[in-house]
């Protein structure tokens, strides 16, 4: 790597770190809100539980471990990570993680410690993953600048910064593993990609949103082998490494079937309900008009979600299986996770991050649409962020994000960088050029009005969540539009390949 590239990436990294740490000064979820507090207390509680109790007791209800008070509901890698954090906490100040007595512990030193743990994960997992992706994806892009622009997007995307370093979560761990896996697949290191994706999956079960594209891409890669034997060997090696990762991570819980099912029940709680709060999913939007919860019961809803999601994922997955290229894979990641977000069971607002991070990796291909899409993702999380006292940082970071896009776009323009898929789809590109700005202005105006209304106007007492629901509805409409658009882009990629083949 030349000095200039290292300089650019270092500058982008430092910008990312400055933004992340600046957000860390702001409140976290559940600050000063007994008795349940929020995600911050949940993470602290998991440190308490994993440090003080033996491994097999982490997921089981007992007198020491009240599962109703923030019981562990992520796979074991999160638990191991909490254990390490708990060790560090007990070394710094045992009061942070003392069993029972540390419930609701808050303070300057504790906040600093917790914020540092998130930054460490960024420094150790997410940022190196982004670096790795920038390096490996360079070979796939026509221009080297493109991978740097994707890296910049990963560093400055507001949603991840606000949720991890503001609201407080460790999405950067699972998403870091995910980005590493994608980077590995860029240079055809399929086993490595499979291993890292399994790690991501074992950190947060929501990574299942990305599982189908990985599966179909790797299966497709196997079919591209020269002989049947080689394909089987490859399939077995990939499958074997995945199984191995799962075995290693779940080993403490494989002794009895009961312990295994207990963990699985905690990680996949079917009893929870269709959606929480006001989410920008289709079912939430539909239930404004049609009270779905009254018509169907939980298990029927779950079945409906499963079937719709499965059917709607098929087009993108089949397309990916037929055209096994890295670009198809990236589009498929966005498309499948977006379908999951819109149609699956028990979706949380924060799940949009699973769509946003793959979209960041498409930033250099489609700066304009991805910038718009990512801004809408932040807009969709405004009610959640406002509840945490993060409204002002959200606004600042969103404006900064648009400016980052401006800089990246003008940089691309000055280098005469055409997007990867610009050839052949002049119809859509021309339409975008003509109507894109107008569409964005209408969208931005609508979002701005809704946000202002949400912040400044008191909703009528009959509908106390009126504006939050309106924001969810507007976001859902946007997301459906983007789902259609990105699907269209994925399906139109094949023309390029034919073009490229013809040229040869």
């Amino acid at each position: 790597m030349s000095t200039k590239v290292i300089e650019s990436l270092s500058i982008a990294t430092l910008v990312g770190i400055v933004l992340r740490w600046a957000v860390s000064f702001h409140p976290y979820s559940g600050a000063n809100k007994p008795p349940m507090f929020g995600d911050y207390e949940a993470q602290r509680h998991w440190q308490e539980i994993t440090l003080n109790l033996p491994v097999h007791a982490w997921y089981t209800n007992s007198s020491d471990n009240d599962l109703l008070y923030w019981g562990l509901d992520y796979p074991p890698l999160t638990a191991y990570h909490s254990y390490l954090n708990g060790l560090l906490a007990s070394y710094l100040n045992p009061d942070f993680v003392a069993l029972f007595t540390s419930r609701g512990y808050e303070g300057y030193d504790h906040k600093l410690f917790m914020r540092y743990t998130v930054l460490f994960v960024d420094l150790l997992v997410f940022i190196p993953a982004a670096f790795f992706y920038a390096r490996t994806s360079k070979t796939v892009y026509r221009h080297r600048v493109a991978s740097k622009i994707d890296f910049l997007a990963l560093m400055t995307y507001p949603g991840l910064i606000l949720i991890d370093h503001g609201h407080f979560q460790y999405n950067n761990a699972s998403l870091g593993f995910f980005v590493t896996a994608v980077g590995a697949l860029a240079t055809k290191r399929d086993c490595m990609g499979a291993i890292f994706f399994s790690c991501a999956l074992n950190y947060k079960q929501m990574e299942l949103y990305h599982a189908l594209p990985f599966f179909f891409y790797l299966l497709g890669r196997c079919t591209k082998e020269n002989s049947f034997a080689e394909a089987v060997v490859k399939l077995c090696s990939i499958g074997g490494s995945v199984v191995l990762v799962f075995l290693v991570v779940w080993s403490p819980y494989l002794r009895t079937l009961e312990s295994l099912t207990q963990v699985v029940k905690r990680v996949f709680p079917v009893g929870r309900g269709l959606f929480e709060d006001k989410v920008a999913s289709v079912w939430c939007s539909l239930s404004v008009v049609v009270k779905l919860r009254e018509i169907l019961d939980n298990s029927q809803m779950a079945l409906l979600c499963l079937v719709t999601t499965a059917i709607l994922c098929l087009p993108s997955c089949i397309n990916l299986f037929r055209h096994v290229t890295f670009t198809h894979f990236k589009y498929s990641l966005v498309n499948v996770s977006l379908i999951f977000f819109l149609f699956s069971f028990h979706v949380h607002e924060k799940s949009i991050l699973l769509v946003a991070v793959p979209a960041c990796m498409l930033f250099s291909s489609e700066p304009f649409m991805v910038c718009w899409f990512l801004s809408v993702t932040v807009f969709s999380m405004v009610p959640l962020l406002d509840k945490d006292g993060l409204f002002l940082p959200s606004l600042s970071l969103c404006v900064l994000w648009v400016l980052v896009y401006e800089v990246a776009a003008s940089h691309c323009k000055s280098l005469n960088l055409k997007s990867v898929i610009a050839d052949g789809r002049t119809g859509v590109d021309a339409a975008l050029r003509r109507w894109g700005t107008a569409l964005v202005c209408v969208s931005a105006l609508c979002c701005a009005v809704l946000v202002l209304a949400f912040k400044c106007i008191h909703p009528p007492s009959r509908y106390p969540d009126l504006f939050a629901v309106l924001i969810a509805l507007a976001s859902c409409a946007h997301f459906c539009f983007f789902a259609v658009y990105f699907h269209f882009r994925q399906f139109s990629l094949q023309t390029n390949k034919k073009h490229a083949e013809k040229k040869r």
Partner: protein, 517 residues
């Protein structure tokens, strides 16, 4: 072409970053300014420089008091309770919001005048330079750390300084004098650079050389002098007049120039006196240990961390008058140089940088924040001559590092370090692109680090800042002031070198050969 859109883009971006710093640590300067808001809002004028309800008495010139009075008019809409003189240390969330926003909004003046100066740079050196220099100015890490975290209004004041520079560069000397007078009546620290601007105005605006065979004749243009004197006197009269009439001249002056404060601040600003203090300490310790010299007995400990009179044990004691004389003498060469280079406003800018640097090095009770007065004008010069780029790089890296002890809280540590590193990288990138556009620089050359625009000794010196940083972060409980002492000393060495080398090279600058004017 530096369009309005590009300008707005950068200003919006940096303002968004500043908004993120709202809940950060703020120093006692926050309470200082809240108190001044309260004094100017709630008390009559005759009490402004007399009131001592709070320990943070008004010690800026009257125009700044009027500025606070104006701000207070807006503050009423945020939280009227902050404007009561008795509400000491009042810091409700609305107070913090108002104060922080006031700094961000008044910074827009700095952005505007910085743009004017950058356009002048572009006019002479190419329009491609306008945006990079503008970014270096408005995103200056020192301003972010001092104004938007520690809490001060330096950006606003720099706005007036850069406006002075802009008008000077545009040849509008009368306006320049007006703005500089306003600046002096806002914060008298800018007296540091007054001699340079005075000499420039006298020589280039008031004196005309008459052509004559053999002997050179000068003609003092009385009209020009009056042109300059009128705005200066008018501003001074408007500012100080009311207090002179109230008979409070002495009181105001004693507030503005509190010479009781001591040679060095609690944390020694990294100037010549820091080196002097350190040498004195070293000699005293060495003298006691070896027995060859018994130092004078002193009652106060200079490392105790309180602002008090510093007494030297071995070296001669330093009096305020002595520092004044030394500062004045050190400025002489550059003032003579400026006199010999008339009608060149950029030379005036350079001379003002040197004068400020001289004052920083030798004056009485210098605050480490004063290094910003050197770094910011140097940002305008760093694209003009290579030695200025080198000086700028060294001064900004070491100068901004020397500001770290101001933000000593644990949570701010990663922020100040990453801001400093980011700004350093940006400067390096921008300057090496400008000065070595064709070079594909390798980071290591023959096994040694090879960083553009810094020589090897300088690179090693700069790398030495990193262990010092580690020492600051891991403060030792047994020697709590050791990191501060070492920081003063180490930065003092670097800044002294930057000062001497810049001064030397400036005096040897052939300003006719270069594009300077």
């Amino acid at each position: 072409m530096f369009t309005n859109y590009q300008f707005l883009r950068i200003v919006a971006g940096i303002s968004c970053v500043k908004l993120l710093f709202l809940p950060c640590y703020y120093s006692t300067d926050f309470e200082v300014h809240r108190n001044w808001l309260a004094i100017t809002h709630s008390l009559p004028i005759n009490q402004w420089y007399v009131d001592t309800t709070s320990e943070w008495t008004l010690d800026y010139p009257p125009l700044f008091a009027w500025f606070e009075w104006l701000l207070a008019k807006v503050a009423v809409f945020f939280d009227p309770a902050m404007l009561h003189v008795e509400s000491l240390n009042y810091s409700s969330s609305m107070t913090v919001l108002f104060q922080r926003l006031s700094v961000i909004v008044t910074d827009l003046l700095f952005a505007w005048s910085a743009r004017l100066c950058c356009l002048e740079v572009g006019r002479r050196y190419g329009v491609g330079l306008v945006e990079p220099v503008f970014v270096l100015l408005v995103c200056n890490c020192g301003l972010l750390l001092v104004d938007h975290i520690h809490f001060q209004y330096n950006g606003f004041l720099m706005g007036f300084l850069f406006l002075t520079y802009a008008r000077m560069l545009q040849g509008r000397n009368v306006e320049a004098t007006l703005w500089f007078s306003v600046l002096l009546c806002l914060k008298h620290i800018y007296l540091y650079m007054a001699p340079a601007l005075l000499v420039y105005m006298l020589r280039s605006h008031c004196l005309h050389r008459l052509p004559g065979a053999g002997k050179v004749l000068w003609k003092v243009s009385i009209k020009a002098m009056v042109q300059l004197a009128v705005p200066a006197v008018a501003v001074a009269a408007a500012a100080f007049g009311p207090f002179v009439m109230l008979g409070q001249t002495g009181q105001v002056l004693s507030r503005l120039f509190p010479f009781k404060r001591g040679l060095s601040h609690a944390y020694w600003a990294p100037n010549f006196w820091a080196l002097y203090n350190a040498a004195d300490k070293f000699l005293a310790v060495a003298g006691r240990r070896s027995g060859w010299y018994t130092p004078r007995n002193v009652t106060t400990s200079s490392t105790a961390g309180l602002v008090q009179e510093l007494e030297h044990e071995v070296l001669p004691p330093v009096l305020p008058a002595a520092t004044f004389i030394i500062t004045a003498l050190s400025m002489m060469p550059v003032l003579v140089w400026l006199w010999r280079n008339p009608y060149k406003p950029w030379c005036a800018v350079r001379a003002s940088v040197v004068c400020t640097f001289c004052s920083y090095m030798f004056a009485w009770h210098v605050h480490e924040k004063a290094i910003l007065l050197v770094i910011l004008p140097l940002s305008l010069l760093c694209v003009q001559e290579q030695f200025e780029a080198r000086t700028f790089l060294l001064t900004s890296i070491v100068g901004h590092f020397s500001l770290f002890p101001l933000l000593f809280t644990a949570h701010e540590t990663p922020l100040k370090i990453s801001l400093w590193l980011l700004y350093t990288l940006l400067c390096w990138r921008m300057l090496s692109l400008h000065w070595y556009p064709m070079d594909h620089h390798r980071l290591f050359h023959h096994g040694l680090p090879n960083i553009p625009l810094t020589s090897l000794p300088q690179t090693l010196y700069l790398l030495g800042l990193l262990p010092l940083l580690l020492l600051q972060v891991l403060s030792l409980p047994s020697l709590p002031f050791l990191p501060l002492l070492l920081t003063s000393l180490y930065c003092g060495l670097g800044l002294s070198w930057a000062f001497i080398s810049y001064y030397w090279q400036l005096l040897h600058l052939d300003s006719d050969r270069s594009k300077t004017a």
